[in-house]
């Protein structure tokens, strides 16, 4: 999390304070029915208080009325502050991105081939620009001609330059990145204001933030509860009149504000924005809040084998000498055969020989050049190796080596075929080493599963998520790796069409599917998947098709994306439960306070022993306001997510937020009551 911003960042807090005042505009408040009701209540009481000052009545008590009114305004402001904080943090993230979007000029190539300098924002989709070394790429696009190294650190944070060239999967470039060497011609693929950085900035700034499906449903629930409480409070006055215990409007509105779910109502949008924000901290850009929510619902993860489940390359994991060959001698031959082999597999053989047999990797220059002759891999021989001190050491696939052995008039033993077959069956790749036309043994190359993946998949399984490994390997190899990595299923010899079919099959069963992809041929599947994370190194088509882009191009991150989605939903649920559970204590504070003057026997309900009716009501209102502030960090950070089954998660969260929500206000209101009576405020 390189972009993490402290919750107490001074600049953001300052901005948020201003923002919370600006958000008092009733037109903006209307989007949040719960807080809108509070604002209307506060405005109404303000007018009443002023009217009371002009024509005082016997019943009015200015000190009490002022405090109630002020705290209602604070309640609204605190909720606004929470939203402004979340937006501020989003903006801060966006600003980092925006820095890369400095105003630049571009060299436009006109249809007749003439070059013309234009301002970058004037570029339109389909324009072709020429970008030379040292220049910024003016917009998202595709390389149509040339090869260049590009510094994308502004977006990815990765300092190593990447190669971008026309055609293939490395043709996409992002606006705001810089060409380091050579030149490229780029065809612009988006209009100004539509590049994915633009979209992203708009999303985190909350300007174009659409409410997500779950957020809408929750908002309906909260609005419904607000109406129920409005009803309970409005009808309470006639009942009070019947009982000769008529209430002031200050008390009634206090009761209303305490009962309606202000805690979750005030924090709801902050939670949503913060969810997007956490994704950005992981260097993932989501194109919509809906995608983040869908990530929490994912049932099936399609994971590419290479890079996600296994380290990118195969590695030597065993040397198997044939009968009569010495272990050490075979290891030595194997190492010698690979000294000049710069492929990752070759290097792994050198390393393995060193680790297992203590054979130090000899540098090329240590071997006298006259004696040592390296044989490079060719398509004809399909072998590589070394000629050294009269020895001809060769390494290659079994077919190639057998041919080589026969060419020397030798016979390869039956044992060789047995060993090779065993390795292939186990999902490995066998490489045979021969010395002077005599086979010595077999090197077992194996896909190495990344550390900790098995545990990760176990956690996912506990969360009810199925993992499917996608690989181009044959079914045998795939099955073996799948078993080792602990994935639930695999798709072998996968073509883009197979992938698409798999996604559709899962979706037909009602499941939500998440996948990663980078190539143009991944685009249809990325679009079909419910959560499609495109790698930033991928093609423009892939990025357009997916609903998230991973700037680090790390396919493993899909798992984190799912966790962030779940965390977002959990935070909403936890705070809703907390908010509703809070109401019980508020009743015990306010109801006896309302009626104890007329019916002293009702003091029996004042189980918190609050000092006076006024202090009781004030304490409840203050608690109600402060709890919003107290929960802002939780709303921004999200509730702690641990991978476990739904049952245990539910139990845990109910205990913390349900029971906690029930009990905490009893303590909080009592403490506030003690404090304000000590200060003489009520």
């Amino acid at each position: 999390m390189k972009n993490a911003i402290s919750i107490w960042d001074k600049g953001i807090i300052k901005q948020a304070l201003i923002g919370s005042l600006r958000k008092l505009d009733p037109r903006k408040m209307l989007k949040n029915p719960v807080m809108f009701v509070v604002e209307v209540g506060a405005a109404f009481l303000t007018l009443r208080m002023i009217a009371g000052l002009i024509t005082p009545t016997a019943a009015s008590s200015f000190g009490f009325e002022l405090q109630i009114t002020l705290w209602l305004w604070f309640t609204v402001l605190f909720a606004n502050f929470a939203e402004a904080m979340a937006e501020g943090r989003g903006k801060a993230q966006a600003d980092t991105l925006r820095k890369s979007k400095t105003e630049t000029t571009a060299t436009l190539i006109e249809a007749n081939g003439n070059k013309r300098t234009v301002a970058a924002p004037d570029l339109r989709k389909g324009d072709v620009v020429y970008v030379a070394a040292g220049e910024f790429i003016p917009g998202d696009g595709e390389v149509v001609e040339g090869v260049a190294s590009v510094d994308e650190s502004a977006i990815t944070g990765e300092s190593a330059p990447v190669i971008r060239e026309s055609g293939g999967d490395r043709s996409a470039v992002t606006g705001g990145t810089r060409v380091l060497s050579d030149w490229i011609k780029v065809k612009i693929t988006s209009n100004p204001g539509e590049t994915f950085i633009d979209r992203m900035i708009a999303l985190v700034e909350g300007a174009s933030r659409q409410k997500t499906p779950n957020e809408i449903a929750l908002n309906i629930l909260l609005a419904g509860l607000t109406i129920v409480f409005l009803l309970a409070v409005v009808t309470l006055q006639p009942f009070a009149i019947y009982s000769n215990a008529t209430q002031t409007v200050f008390v009634l509105i206090s009761l209303l504000v305490c009962l309606i779910p202000t805690t979750i109502g005030g924090l709801l949008s902050a939670i949503g924005i913060a969810g997007m924000d956490r994704l950005i901290q992981h260097n993932v850009l989501a194109m919509s809040g809906r995608a983040v929510e869908a990530a929490g619902d994912v049932n099936t993860l399609l994971l590419d084998k290479t890079g996600t489940i296994t380290l990118g390359n195969r590695q030597a994991s065993e040397f198997i000498p044939l009968a009569g060959i010495d272990d050490e001698a075979f290891a030595d031959a194997a190492q010698l055969s690979s000294l000049a082999d710069e492929t990752p597999e070759g290097r792994s053989i050198v390393v393995y020989a060193k680790q297992k047999y203590g054979l130090r990797g000899r540098e090329l220059h240590e071997l006298s050049t006259g004696q040592a002759e390296f044989i490079a891999f060719t398509a004809q021989t399909r072998m590589s190796g070394i000629n050294l001190d009269g020895r001809q050491i060769r390494k290659g696939a079994v077919d190639a080596i057998e041919k080589y052995v026969l060419s020397g008039g030798q016979q390869s033993p039956a044992e060789l075929r047995t060993v090779v077959k065993r390795i292939a069956n186990a999902g490995g790749t066998p490489l045979v080493v021969a010395d002077n036309h005599k086979p010595l043994g077999v090197i077992y190359l194996k896909d190495i599963v990344k550390g900790g993946m098995r545990e990760r998949f176990n956690q996912l399984r506990q969360m009810g998520i199925k993992t499917v490994m996608i690989t181009g390997d044959n079914p045998l190899t795939a099955a073996s790796i799948a078993k080792e990595a602990g994935v639930d299923d695999f798709l072998a010899e996968a073509t883009p069409e197979d992938k698409m079919a798999l996604i559709k099959r899962e979706q037909a069963e009602g499941k939500l599917v998440a996948m990663t992809g980078d190539g143009t041929n991944d685009a249809p599947a990325l679009a079909q998947a419910d959560v499609g994370v495109a790698m930033n190194t991928g093609t423009q088509a892939a990025k357009e098709a997916g609903n998230m882009v991973d700037l680090d191009s790390d396919p493993t991150k899909l798992i984190e994306v799912v966790e962030i989605g779940k965390q977002l939903l959990m935070t909403r649920g936890a705070l809703t439960t907390f908010s509703i559970a809070n109401d019980i204590a508020k009743y015990f504070a306010i109801i006896p306070a309302m009626f104890a003057a007329t019916f002293p026997v009702l003091n029996a309900l004042n189980i918190m022993g609050l000092k006076t009716p006024q202090s009781a009501i004030l304490s409840a209102v203050i608690f109600n306001a402060l709890v919003i502030v107290a929960l802002i960090p939780l709303a921004l950070r999200g509730v702690r997510y641990r991978p476990m089954s739904a049952s245990s998660l539910l139990q845990r969260n109910l205990l913390i937020y349900g029971l906690g929500g029930l009990l905490s206000p009893f303590i909080g209101i009592k403490l506030i009551d003690l404090l304000i009576t000590a200060l003489g405020l009520a």
Partner: protein, 600 residues
């Protein structure tokens, strides 16, 4: 509280639990259109009904068609019942020669029986002819129950089916529910009740000579019936010798059975199930209580069976049972504590607590259990005066209804009521497991929440709205009160709670046969039934259309004890948060006043 009393209550709960599964299995067969062991008897009748009414029983309906059929059917039922009451003087089987009923009482009663409420603004044996009772009221007792059951079946289908608009056929559901469930069980129960001494005849009322002749003082009236006042304005009193008693007769047993089984609750006699001809023995009382809850309990098992998760059915059953036990325990405890305001010469210890308004043949335990059961289910039959309970004892029946009639609830109505609560529970708590909330593989989305909240909103809107207006209207609201203060408020609140909850039990102590009460209570019953059914059907239709998401370890579990507790909490919190303010001015205030020796 006595051991004997507790044992009787436990025996009742145990037998109810044992019956839930067999009844549930039978309900599944009836509503799935499968063969039952009664086919030989009723299948020909069923076919004949379809043939005569030209109903294509195999044609499935979507939720809108189903709703329209149900509404039209209920409207016709209401009009017919209204007509019978208005014209009863003209109709046969009226040995007492009762006149037709007033417009507003006829409206109230028609609505009351069609909505399965059975709120009674009249006294049965002094108002209704045998024809009205049998052809009008008892018919509705069957039909309104069958409609409720049909709706529960629809909701269960909505939950268990997927990617379809078809929710069943309204006519088929009503006919099968009546023929295969209500008729045979009522028949058996009626015969049993006759064996216990419940009357079943068409005779005119008897007159018996009292051995214990009494003389009471009544207002003296002139020839026109006006009260005569003396010169100082005081009413003139005269002696009235009471030496005879009218013994009411009639076909009571046949109506009694369906009154309980269909959670209707409308008594044949004014005194309802405390009348010795309507509930003569402790055994008849026990069976009566079983009949009330047997179908609602069966529906929970049917739910589990239809969604292929019997555990879920039992979890819902357990949640209801927890609330039922809590209610009966609180009521029994409150009544056993007695009333400190009774004069010292009333020996409350000897009778085991507050015996006012209770029948000696039932005692406190069986009165407490009956009151809990009848208000938990929206039955509304009573075997004791709820008005005479201690304040907390009276609070329990009222809260039972205010929780939304979901503690087993009315036949069918309880099932769809609890399903709304389940949807809210799953939505609120479901988010906490980090997924879009799902109920049995169906995603709960904004439309479902919207409809569920509508359902939740209508209920307190009607109760609190009407009660609030009534409580500050001295002319038409307060004049009907027999009591003032907190108890008076309880009476008003109870009446609107009972009507809106389609319960029909009365707190009594309130003269509800006035234009205002008959009309507003009638409207409350209508809205409490039909307006609330619309969102129910909409949700059922919407759920049935959804794709089924396969259950995984990440799915919110709905068959655990934790789920039952959650469901109980949501039901309690929603109810408590809505009604606590007004309750604190009525029974709760009255309780603390009683404890402190205050009365009004």
């Amino acid at each position: 509280m006595t051991l004997n009393g507790i044992l009787q209550i436990l025996a009742y709960l145990a037998i109810l639990t044992l019956l839930a599964k067999p009844v549930g299995i039978y309900l599944v067969k009836v509503y799935n259109g499968e063969r039952t062991f009664l086919d030989f008897l009723f299948r020909p009748v069923e076919r004949a009904v379809y043939a005569i009414t030209r109903v294509d029983a195999e044609k499935e309906m979507n939720w809108k068609q189903y709703g329209v059929a149900m509404l039209i059917f209920s409207l016709v039922s209401t009009l017919v019942l209204y007509g019978i009451q208005r014209l009863q003087f003209f109709l046969p089987s009226n040995p007492q020669g009762f006149a037709g009923l007033s417009e507003h009482l006829s409206f109230n009663t028609a609505v009351s029986f069609v909505t399965n409420t059975n709120w009674q603004g009249y006294g049965g044996e002094t108002t209704m002819s045998y024809f009205t009772q049998m052809a009008g009221l008892t018919v509705q007792n069957f039909i309104s129950a069958a409609v409720g059951m049909a709706l529960a079946a629809v909701f269960i289908r909505g939950v268990s089916r997927f990617e379809t608009d078809n929710l069943g056929n309204f006519w088929k559901d009503v006919v099968r529910g009546t023929l295969y469930v209500l008729l045979p069980l009522s028949f058996l129960a009626a015969i049993f009740f006759v064996s216990q001494g419940v009357v079943q005849n068409f005779k005119p009322y008897d007159t018996a000579q009292l051995t214990d002749v009494r003389t009471i003082q009544v207002d003296k009236k002139d020839a026109e019936g006006a009260v005569i006042k003396d010169s100082s304005g005081e009413t003139v009193q005269e002696d009235l010798v009471i030496d005879t008693q009218t013994i009411a007769q009639g076909p009571a047993a046949s109506q009694l059975a369906i009154k309980m089984l269909g959670t209707n609750g409308g008594g044949f006699f004014n005194a309802n199930s405390s009348h010795p001809f309507e509930n003569p023995t402790p055994l008849s009382n026990f069976i009566t209580m079983l009949l009330i809850l047997i179908i609602p309990a069966g529906f929970t098992y049917m739910l589990g069976r239809m969604v292929k998760s019997p555990g879920h059915g039992w979890a819902v059953y357990s949640a209801m049972m927890i609330l039922l036990i809590a209610g009966v325990a609180a009521l029994y405890w409150a009544e056993a504590m007695g009333n400190p305001l009774h004069p010292a010469n009333v020996d409350q210890v000897a009778v085991g607590g507050n015996f006012e308004g209770k029948e000696t043949r039932f005692g406190i335990a069986n009165s407490a259990l009956f009151a809990t059961v009848t208000t938990a289910a929206s039955c509304g039959a009573v075997n004791s005066m709820h008005d005479s309970f201690t304040p907390l004892g009276g609070l329990v029946p009222m809260v039972n209804i205010q929780l939304g009639e979901v503690i087993f609830g009315g036949v069918g109505a309880g099932m769809y009521g609890i399903l709304i609560m389940i949807i809210l529970t799953v939505f609120i708590a479901g988010l906490m497991v980090g997924r879009t909330p799902e109920y049995l593989g169906k995603k709960i989305e904004s439309f479902d929440v919207q409809m569920a909240m509508l359902y939740v909103l209508i209920f307190p809107l009607i109760i609190l709205g009407f009660a609030a207006v009534t409580s500050i209207s001295p002319d038409f609201g307060l004049t009907s009160l027999n009591n003032q203060g907190a108890h008076g408020l309880s009476e008003i609140l109870y009446a609107f709670t009972s009507a809106t909850g389609n319960n029909g039990s009365a707190f009594a102590g309130l003269n509800a046969n006035t234009l205002w009460y008959n009309t507003t209570l009638g409207i409350a019953m209508l809205i409490g039934r039909f307006l609330m059914i619309v969102p129910v059907l909409a949700i059922a239709g919407n759920l049935a259309r959804k794709k089924l998401v396969p259950a995984t370890l990440g799915t919110f579990p709905v068959n655990t004890a934790l789920f039952s507790i959650l469901l109980v909490s949501i039901v309690l919190i929603l109810g408590a948060l809505t009604f606590f303010p007004v309750l604190s001015l009525s029974p709760i205030l009255e309780h603390f006043q009683m404890v402190n020796g205050q009365s009004f």
